[in-house]
């Protein structure tokens, strides 16, 4: 009887402890960028790059999905959607810059932004992009299944989206996800 009573007393404590551990691991993963409770699981992952043709920030030309496919023949292309008023986009600028210095091809798409503001953003936080396109009405973004900025998509030589990140890129995400994905795409 006493043993049963002890068990009954321990049960809520056990449940609270398990909940605590689960919550702690969730928060750690959220902080590291490997878990996003809002993530919807992009169904475009594994599919072919959608068709688009975007103007650039004058006087630089923009780019089309055909340009991405041609470049992806040489090495995987990371497409990064950004916006000048988006704070996580400014936060990931350093990570993108480091990636581009390591030779990763990153192509930027300014989402729902005035070209002048996008240009000012790139002046302020650095321009890690090989090419920049502007998707002012967000129609290309919808074909990518984008639901917020920043979002990044890795395109392999077959033109498929092989990796996707909804949210800012951090060193943890690069180390744990992007680097292995790049290695797989380069094989």
């Amino acid at each position: 009887m006493i043993a049963r009573r002890r068990l009954l007393l321990a049960a809520p404590l056990g449940v609270a402890a398990a909940g605590g551990v689960a919550f702690w691991s969730m928060l750690t993963r959220m902080q590291g960028g490997t878990f996003d409770p809002h993530d919807i699981g992009n169904p475009m992952l594994g599919k072919h790059l959608p068709d688009f043709d975007l103007p650039g920030i004058a006087p630089s030309p923009g780019f089309s999905s055909r340009d991405v496919l041609a470049a992806a023949q040489r090495q995987p292309v990371l497409i990064n959607f950004f916006m000048s008023t988006c704070i996580p986009c400014a936060e990931e600028a350093e990570t993108l810059d480091a990636l581009s210095r390591q030779g990763v091809a990153i192509w930027g798409i300014a989402w729902e932004d005035e070209p002048a503001k996008s240009a000012a953003f790139l002046d302020r936080y650095g321009n890690p992009f090989t090419r920049v396109g502007t998707d002012r009405r967000g129609t290309a973004a919808i074909d990518f299944g984008l639901y917020g900025v920043p979002e990044s998509y890795l395109i392999d030589r077959t033109g498929r989206i092989v990796w996707h990140m909804a949210g800012g890129l951090s060193d943890v995400v690069v180390e744990q996800q992007l680097t292995p994905a790049l290695a797989r795409a380069r094989v």
């Binding site: 169904p43 129609t139 919808i142």
Partner: protein, 150 residues
């Protein structure tokens, strides 16, 4: 007061106010616009996640509303438009997702909750201790003595 009541009645009678911020967003044909609103109200705004794209003020919802209207105007059926959205955003974009293997638990939850609840109630009823035996004469006398006012 009368004017206020009239205004109140008119407000209550009016159609639900959608998030369309600019009348130019709307289709010129009222029947088509009604169909677009009907389709849009079944689609989740991925930014706020608990509102339909017709209710949401987010920029993405605005873009998706425009796409729905373009497709309605182009003569696509409701299911074609929904399929187009699901291809890009997954079943999650539908506020009422279809019954599939992955949404089985979601749809079965009310039934499961009812089953678990009834089970718990049944077990709880059974485990109640039986009522204590009635007092015998000696105990009753002792109780009477104790409860007699001093």
């Amino acid at each position: 007061m009368k004017a206020f009541l009239v205004a109140l009645c008119l407000a209550l009678l009016s159609a639900p106010a959608w998030a369309i911020s600019d009348p130019r967003e709307m289709l010129p044909d009222p029947a088509q616009e009604a169909r677009a609103e009907q389709v849009g109200s079944q689609l989740r705004c991925l930014v706020c996640q608990n509102e339909s794209i017709e209710d949401s003020g987010a920029q993405l919802a605005h873009d998706l509303r425009a796409v729905v209207r373009q497709r309605v105007a182009a003569g696509q059926t409701d299911s074609q438009i929904l399929a187009w959205m699901v291809a890009r955003y997954g079943s999650f974009v539908r506020l009422s997702p279809p019954l599939t293997l992955t949404t089985l638990l979601l749809w079965a939850t009310p039934v499961l909750a009812l089953l678990v609840g009834s089970g718990a109630a049944l077990v709880g009823r059974r485990s109640f201790a039986p009522a204590p035996a009635p007092l015998n004469a000696a105990e009753q006398a002792r109780l009477d003595e104790l409860s007699r006012p001093a």
